[in-house]
């Protein structure tokens, strides 16, 4: 046997509304049930008789909950709930994006033909930062004093620590392993 509070909870549980709607509906149903209860008490009914009377006059909580959910619009409720979570979702997505950018993947825009024809100007490269030991012929992005450069590995030292990189129009550069940002795993050229 339900108490009135449990009866109301059951309706709200089935209706499963967005918080603001749930507050309004709950308050409205609670007031109505309270009025019915008072009417029952005026008729000298016992607490359990009142509950039976209210349940009979008000209807099945499962059926009622489902009808309220439908009347408020299930899709609207879904959107309202999502909208409430949106700031948190965006914050989580931002943190995740920054974490990925810092540790695993980063995109770079190539503005000149220093690594042409493999990487023409107006290309984008996606760099796998976890792969910092490139082989000969790999396209790599490396750090210099003021920014980043893209180049093609022409030779690696036997101990794998120094890497020699070629860029058109410049002498081959010897890089320390720590200068390597990562190996390019995806190239996209948007040059006309």
């Amino acid at each position: 046997m339900y108490s009135l509070e449990e009866y109301l909870n059951r309706i709200m549980e089935i209706a499963d509304l967005a918080p603001r709607d749930a507050k309004r509906v709950r308050s409205e149903l609670q007031a109505h049930l309270g009025e019915l209860r008072d009417a029952g008490i005026t008729q000298n009914l016992s607490e359990s008789e009142v509950t039976i009377m209210v349940r009979r006059e008000f209807g099945s909580p499962e059926e009622l909950g489902a009808m309220i959910a439908k009347a408020r619009g299930r899709f609207r409720t879904y959107l309202k709930k999502q909208a409430r979570r949106l700031p948190l979702t965006l914050a989580a997505a931002l943190v995740l994006a920054l974490a990925i950018k810092a540790t695993a993947l980063q995109a770079f825009r190539v503005t000149n033909d220093a690594a042409s024809p493999r990487v023409p100007a107006c290309s984008r490269v996606l760099v796998n930062k976890l792969s910092r030991h490139p082989d000969v012929d790999d396209v790599v992005v490396f750090r210099v004093e003021h920014g980043y450069r893209v180049g093609i590995v022409v030779r690696t030292q036997a101990d794998g620590r120094d890497i020699i990189v070629h860029r058109n129009g410049e002498p081959d550069t010897v890089l320390a392993g720590s200068q390597i940002v990562g190996k390019a795993i995806f190239l996209y050229s948007y040059a006309p």
Partner: protein, 115 residues
């Protein structure tokens, strides 16, 4: 929902609009007025009044107005009122109802008259 329940629900919809066309009312007041004035014909399933009110509200036929606190019981009461669209819809419902009653009466009466 079977067809009888649907028919009943259609009637309650018109009656709720009619009650709200007289003055703003809150849920319990609508339910109890409906039960009293219909001599308990529309007394059971008071809870189903709320899905009906929410659906009328979504359709723009009624609006939830001010929430007032009853000075005696201290309960909050949310008053509903009819919108102009609701008033037009009520008029259409009443016209339809008049036609149905007329049609039903004519047919039922003829059944008694014929040998």
């Amino acid at each position: 929902m079977d067809s009888r329940a649907q028919y009943r629900r259609g009637c309650v919809r018109t009656l709720v609009l009619e009650l709200l066309s007289r003055r703003p009312m809150y849920g319990y007041e609508i339910a109890s007025t409906l039960a009293r004035q219909s001599e308990q014909v529309f007394s059971l399933g008071q809870g189903t009044l709320y899905p009906l009110l929410y659906s009328l509200e979504r359709k723009g036929l009624i609006r939830a107005g001010k929430e007032e606190r009853d000075p005696e019981s201290g309960r909050k009461r949310l008053y509903y009122e009819l919108t102009p669209k609701g008033r037009r819809s009520l008029q259409e419902d009443l016209d339809t109802w008049s036609q149905i009653v007329r049609g039903m009466t004519l047919v039922l009466r003829s059944a008694h008259v014929q040998p």
